[in-house]
């Protein structure tokens, strides 16, 4: 039997372990830098110059304000597409989550099907979705909508399934004991219990999708992403900078609003 260490020995041993872990991490960093020929020092030296260039070119000027109309129009459309795709995906996710969650699954094999399906859809990155859908649906807002829809569907199905599984199954037993049918249990028991959590997830996904919409737009040539790409490639960096600024403002505004909504419904 090993002897019990004194407190001094215990702390000495733990400090040694921490030191070893730190050395291993530094070693891994150094090794990867060597392997990809990355010069840490000279890269760091470039940072200030890069930042100055960014500030000179990307800070919006008086001139870029003339683009404000076009930008806000596209931004508005993008926001609406994000909201529409999130809500649509949310409805489908709820349906699949009820089928796939343990307390409400009509049969055990549904759980496997839903889990596999959601995981498959979720693990295809939004970039890949955009590229794939671009070929089938061409350059349109609908392509952007679908790309966001599928990714959201994957995420929300998983999130909703887990929310339903957190529910105390005894509450559903109480409704079954009353003589409630399956659909009555779902509508009168499950949905009221999970509604606020589901709302929070929806709001979070709307924020998230607005951010992703920019990238999806660059790839599918729609919305604010397209406009950003267009200004950027025609060297109108100040206008592109204005887009970045406005997206940030909108996302922050959205975040503040959804926090308030969440507090109000909790």
């Amino acid at each position: 039997m090993p002897t019990k260490p004194t407190p001094q020995q215990f702390f000495r041993r733990r400090n040694r372990q921490l030191l070893i872990i730190l050395l291993i991490l530094i070693g891994i960093y150094w090794l990867s830098m060597v392997l990809v020929n990355f010069q840490t020092m000279s890269s760091l030296a470039q940072v200030p110059a890069g930042l100055i260039w960014l500030a000179k070119n990307f800070i919006p000027t008086q001139r870029s304000l003339s683009y404000l109309g076009a930008i806000s129009f596209q931004l508005w459309r993008t926001l609406l597409v994000s909201i529409a795709s999130t809500i649509c995906a949310g409805l489908f996710s709820l349906f699949f989550a009820v089928l796939g969650a343990k307390p409400t699954a009509p049969a055990p094999y549904w759980r496997v099907i839903v889990r596999l399906g959601a995981s498959l859809v979720r693990n295809i990155p939004v970039v890949a979705w955009s590229m794939i859908l671009l070929f089938s649906f061409k350059q349109s807002d609908f392509t952007g909508f679908l790309a966001l829809f599928f990714m959201t569907l994957g995420y929300l199905t998983r999130a909703f399934t887990e929310t339903i599984e957190d529910l105390d199954p005894e509450k559903l037993n109480a409704l079954r004991a009353v003589g409630a049918t399956y659909l009555q249990c779902v509508f009168c028991g499950v949905l009221p219990e999970v509604a606020t959590t589901l709302m929070s997830w929806l709001l979070y996904m709307i924020e998230n999708n607005l951010r992703d919409a920019t990238l999806v737009g660059i790839l599918t040539g729609t919305g604010i992403g397209f406009l950003f790409n267009y200004y950027f490639k025609s060297f109108r960096y100040d206008a592109a900078g204005l887009i970045v600024l406005l997206i940030a403002v909108l996302v922050i505004a959205l975040e503040l609003t959804s926090t308030r909504i969440r507090k109000a419904i909790a």
């Binding site: 004991a177 009353v178 003589g179 409630a180 049918t181 509508f187 009168c188 009221p192």
Partner: protein, 255 residues
């Protein structure tokens, strides 16, 4: 009249949870099932409305065997059996009134129940029942904001909304303070007498069982070891009910 005859249940092959359990419970009486933890009290209670599927036996409520019922019969029978729980099991974000109205689900069409389409008569009855259990002021409050005793009374009102022949009570007072316990037990006893209901109740607390029950069923390791009126419960019978399993004593000696 509830008659349970030769009920068997095992959750796994090694251990049988219920062995030929038979007892009766009469309308107008409080029947308490007592016994040590793990004796099978909850299994019996949940077999009565088939939340748990037992293996063999008969469960006759007014001579109709719930074990033989098909899906729609089971729904109809369950509609007439109220149930209250240790953890109340109300839908927390809904109001007390909505939870009481859930008692009507077994009698409504799936569609009407899903969408919460209740008639004015049903709503008035639910409000009246809440008033009867002393919660008129809380009818429109969310249930998760009510105290334990209040939630249990909402549970009772939900059960009464079913126009029950019987109310099953699964450890109804295990999470309540003494004052709420008395309130809830007084309501249950009063209901048995005034509405001629069968009240079947699982209890951990022997003193409560002795105070409130007319009829007592004692169970130990899945076997009925006593059934009779409360006054027939002698110290020897009590010892038989709460006897610890011998296997435990043997392993304790071995150590």
């Amino acid at each position: 009249m509830l008659k349970v005859i030769d009920l068997d249940k095992s959750y796994n092959r090694q251990k049988q949870s219920l062995k030929a359990v038979s007892f009766t419970a009469k309308p107008g009486e409080v029947t308490a099932i007592i016994g040590p933890s793990g004796a099978g009290k909850t299994t019996i209670l949940r077999s009565v409305n088939q939340l748990i599927k037992d293996d063999a036996g008969q469960i006759l409520l007014d001579d109709e065997d719930i074990r033989q019922a098909n899906k729609s019969d089971l729904r109809r029978i369950r509609h007439h059996i109220g149930m209250i729980f240790q953890n109340y099991n109300l839908i927390g974000p809904l109001t007390a009134l909505e939870n009481v109205l859930h008692g009507r689900l077994g009698a409504k069409s799936t569609f009407a129940g899903m969408l919460g389409l209740y008639s004015a008569t049903e709503k008035n009855e639910a409000a009246k029942l809440l008033q009867d259990v002393g919660l008129a002021d809380f009818a429109l409050q969310r249930c998760d904001q009510l105290s334990g005793g209040q939630q249990q009374r909402v549970g009772i009102a939900r059960a009464l909304m079913q126009h029950p022949k019987m109310i099953l009570c699964d450890e109804p007072i295990a999470s309540l303070d003494p004052k709420s316990t008395k309130l809830v037990m007084d309501i249950l006893r009063e209901l048995a007498q005034s509405k001629q209901l069968i009240i079947l109740i699982n209890l951990h607390q022997l003193d409560i069982a002795q105070t409130y029950a007319d009829h007592i069923v004692g169970i130990n390791q899945g076997t009925i070891v006593f059934e009779g009126p409360e006054r027939a419960l002698t110290p020897e019978k009590l010892q038989a009910i709460y006897r610890q399993p011998e296997t435990k004593a043997v392993t304790a000696d071995a150590n």
